[in-house]
Symmetry: C2
Subunit: 348 residues, 2 copies
Amino acid sequence: MSHSRQKDAAYVTIGQVAQAAGVSKTTISRYISGQYEALADSTRQRIEETIAALNYRPNQLARGLKRGRSNLIGVILADISNPFSTAIMRGVEDVAKFHGYSIVVWNTDNDAQKERDYIFIAQSHKIDGLIINTTGQNNAFLRDLGGQKTPIVLVDRKVPDLNFDTVCTDNRSATETALHYLLEKEYERVALFTEPVEGISSRTERLETFSRILAENGHVSTSDVYVVDAHNQAHLEKSLLQFLYDSRGQLRAILAGNGVLLLKLSRTFQRLGIRVPESVSYLGFDDPEWALLVGSGITTIAQPTYQIGVTAMNRIILRIGQEDGLTPEIVELPGELIVRGSTPGKMT
Amino acid sequence: MSHSRQKDAAYVTIGQVAQAAGVSKTTISRYISGQYEALADSTRQRIEETIAALNYRPNQLARGLKRGRSNLIGVILADISNPFSTAIMRGVEDVAKFHGYSIVVWNTDNDAQKERDYIFIAQSHKIDGLIINTTGQNNAFLRDLGGQKTPIVLVDRKVPDLNFDTVCTDNRSATETALHYLLEKEYERVALFTEPVEGISSRTERLETFSRILAENGHVSTSDVYVVDAHNQAHLEKSLLQFLYDSRGQLRAILAGNGVLLLKLSRTFQRLGIRVPESVSYLGFDDPEWALLVGSGITTIAQPTYQIGVTAMNRIILRIGQEDGLTPEIVELPGELIVRGSTPGKMT
DNA sequence: TTGTATGCGTTATCAA
DNA sequence: TTGATAACGCATACAA
């Protein structure tokens, strides 16, 4: 009696609909599940009207409990602020929506403990699938998960020795393309600026390919790899100056390992008054919206982010229902080199 | 028999834990709910060990069904790609996590129909609270929702005549600050570039304040408001050229209504070879990470996005549990003018 | 074509 | 301090 009629209206259940429509709960349930072939046209119509009139919405909690699935897909991101992650999310969401799933997101801030916590929470919500952009520091933990039945798909980062579906950029090819482009442009010295690579396959692959291609082409300066903390401005500056000094007099370029570093490098050039491309050329992974605004545009290696999300979610859909089997697959989608003014090569 | 022991292990229930620990389900339930004062130390310890051994995770679906709450908070965004939205999400998530809630996100792409669909879906999942960055085209629909008990908080955009908790930037003050700054810098002519304002309070308020302040200061050119479609490059260019022609010979500035327009304007200046700030000055709402990279930096009006998220979620927490009452409140958080090189004023 | 009865995993009520 | 039992809202097996 303490609640208004208005508020009680928010709690319409299948029983009330049944009563109002003059049929049993089972019949309503059949309607909800779309089993129209088992319903008389007249009943169906009556139910339709009753549901609309009462504004009834089936309780997903009850439904999920009974059917053993929640219609929820979990997405665990290392960094939700990164446009790279949001683009993936969009892809995931579009497919999820199409199949009637909603998305629960968790942000780990690249913290392995948080990642573990969130995986537990995801499980307790009985999510029907999980997409993880892993920190790369819970491999043993993830291995255990593999045995369970909830479909898991890794995005952007592979986990070695683990049989998980994985969707990522073809980092080796992309790096190769970028370096060959630079070599053709007759750069004499190329540096790689990357964040720490441990456990993060995308970074590792870029680093390895970088070293390999340079070695294959007679560039012996493997020392031109700078592992930096993107949030340590001083260290970044020091590394940059080091490279500029080491390569003085040579035609040189810097490859930024991701979008964050590309931003930080741009900022550092600006602060130190280093002229691009006259003094140094640069390019980088990711293709942030502002890349074409800086100077005469920054050359980038765009990643198929949206497509990664779409592919990952499609894989989840495929696994759902599929009782057993389906061998884990690693899908590598091609990146794209977008040439702009920051890497003109030898100027005549 | 068709499943491995491993897989069955994923489905530990409270009953199995009870059996293994030699107590009743009720006792386990008490442990889960943290009612330690009703448990003997010895039992408590035994339960603790059993849960760890079996790797038990309470089923949130069952829990939610029984308790009438899901531990889920819904967030409906008009555009998840916009960094503005992600920043809000971060704020929401931090607070949500602290209180044991997880976040379900939906992206409406500024589509009113999608917004309605998602609100229904959110309700069916029995979310414990809903945060909406509304498209502004479902006001009647939202009004109905107000009567129900699920706490709803609007972010960024107010809905007139509706009593909802709302958290947004203080757009009037922010716009005022920006314009006073421009007037002090002796700009003779100022234009506003905005996306369509219908139903979107933030844009409306910026527009109104723009007109008011200019009028108060003897600028009669109310015609200097350009309503543009951010995705129509041709129209944007035309509007820009129109303004530049109209204001030829005057010291002039353009105020971009949001981050998207700021980007498009920057791009257009670049394409048309228009020199900033020599030929025209500009500044804009939002403070995207690249604002300081373009030219000698773009003057911006930063919005307290993270804080908006935090405040909105705190409000939800406050309302949850609170049986009735709590008058809806509109919280306007201050923006901040960040002066950079794009608006130097009269150069001597 | 429709209905009855049972149970999903948990919590709340009551009793011991 | 602990337990038996009913109930949350729905879907399913079986019966009619």
